[in-house]
Amino acid sequence: MKLTLKIWRQKDAASKGKMVDYPISGVEGDMSFLEMLDVLNEQLINKGEEPVEFDHDCREGICGTCSLQINGEPHGPDRLVTTCQLHMRKFNDGDTIVIEPFRATAFPVLKDLIVDRSALDRIQQSGGYISVNTSGNTVDANAIPINKHDADEAMDAATCIGCGACVAACKNASAMLFTSAKVSQFALLPQGQIEATERVQNMVRQMDLEGFGNCTNTGACEVECPKGISLENIARMNREYYSASLKG
């Protein structure tokens, strides 16, 4: 397969970037998108050029490290997959593929396609935890009965890998799907109730401080999320927030 790649190149955070065209051949349908970029980088290194930098780690869709806005969609045109799980068979010979970093003011570009997503970590740190005594007399989590439906929904919310595709997809660069998943995974469980009021208030405050946009319920995040996190989580976060605000 022969392709033309249009890739965002940016020397460092302070530099101005631009799109650069790279023709590439010998791409197999069974390659993952990242393997295709590996091939490109080998070619660039052999020519003595600077390789294209991009984030990746597990390459099996569970770590949330890979990103990329591919042809205008985070993680590309396939659904419920991360970029590392996207196969080149989703593209056709002769295609032009536009590859950009996830764009958000809260996600500054560090180099080429790598953005700093630590804003999501700071939201998590502001309240996405439960305080448990782990000094030796820890109560087994399974000792508290939880009904199946709640456990399932909490688990669904907890599958968020924090990749930031929701922010990248949203026309407002809103992080509400991410934040709501992190709020929901505790809001649904008894262990999460003790800190429930502070949690949602602190996490929403941090989300606002980071400069993410506001949700306008377009639903783009839900469609593009590689883990299928539902908009129901945003509604739940809103309920949690309003009831926390009323409690003061």
């Binding site: 205008g72 536009v98 026309k171 506001n214 949700c215 945003i234 809103n238 927030y241």
Partner: protein, 219 residues
């Protein structure tokens, strides 16, 4: 000043729902101008001279429009700042509907329409009552309304505005429930009611505009 994103959103949702409710009430009164002109006259007269409507409900309504617009503008400004560098290629239609992505356009047109609507009906009414200090006349409203729709340009402008209003409602009505935290087994029903309301009410207003244009009062 409301600072939290979620608090601002709920202000947007509640003011929007209030305007949705008002729109329904406005339609019920207006449709009488087609089916029962006398009723239209008496209801209009009541709305125009009842102190509760004039000095309490009318200011609340104007405040509702202003709040919805100002908050929408503040949120839009924030949203635009949240993506300082735009994508070279952004495939918005791959994951979200046009109406949900363009509330600013549909809302802007509706706002411009409200300005025209004020110029057409509200300002002359204020002038009639408070500047020219004319006597009360409970029979004038129907003829005045029908006269307004004589020029074709006004009918066309009203129709364009109602189409954009329908698009605005198609997203906004159901969306306000999601913002207020309602996303459950009733959501499909809310979405269905939204579709029916968002199409039927503006269509009704379009019908009224066309009807009055085609049936002028001859002297």
């Amino acid at each position: 000043m409301i600072k939290s994103s979620l608090a601002r959103k709920v202000v947007m949702a509640l003011s929007g729902l209030f305007l949705v409710f008002f729109l329904g009430q406005h339609f019920v009164i207006n449709i009488t101008s087609v089916i029962a002109p006398d009723t239209f006259n008496s209801w209009s007269h009541f709305m125009g001279y009842n102190p509760l409507v004039q000095y309490l409900l009318q200011p609340i309504l104007i405040a509702g429009v202003v709040v919805h617009f100002v908050m929408g503008f503040i949120l839009e400004l924030q949203n635009s700042k949240a993506r300082g560098v735009r994508y070279v290629k952004y495939k918005g239609d791959a994951n979200a509907s046009w109406v949900s992505r363009n509330m600013l356009i549909s809302g802007g047109v509706v706002l411009a329409f409200i300005a025209l609507h004020f110029y057409d009906f509200w300002l002359p009414e204020i002038a009639y009552k408070y500047i020219e200090s004319n006597p009360e006349d409970a029979t004038r409203y129907h003829a005045e309304t029908v006269h307004k729709f004589e020029p074709i340009w006004r009918m066309v402008l009203y129709i364009i505005a109602f189409v954009l209003l329908a698009l605005h409602l198609l997203h906004g009505f159901a969306s306000s429930f999601q913002t207020m935290g309602v996303n459950n087994k009733y959501t499909p029903t809310i979405k269905l009611v939204t579709k029916i309301y968002a199409i039927a009410i503006p269509l009704g207003f379009v019908f009224i505009a066309i009807y009055h244009h085609l049936n002028p009062i001859t002297h």
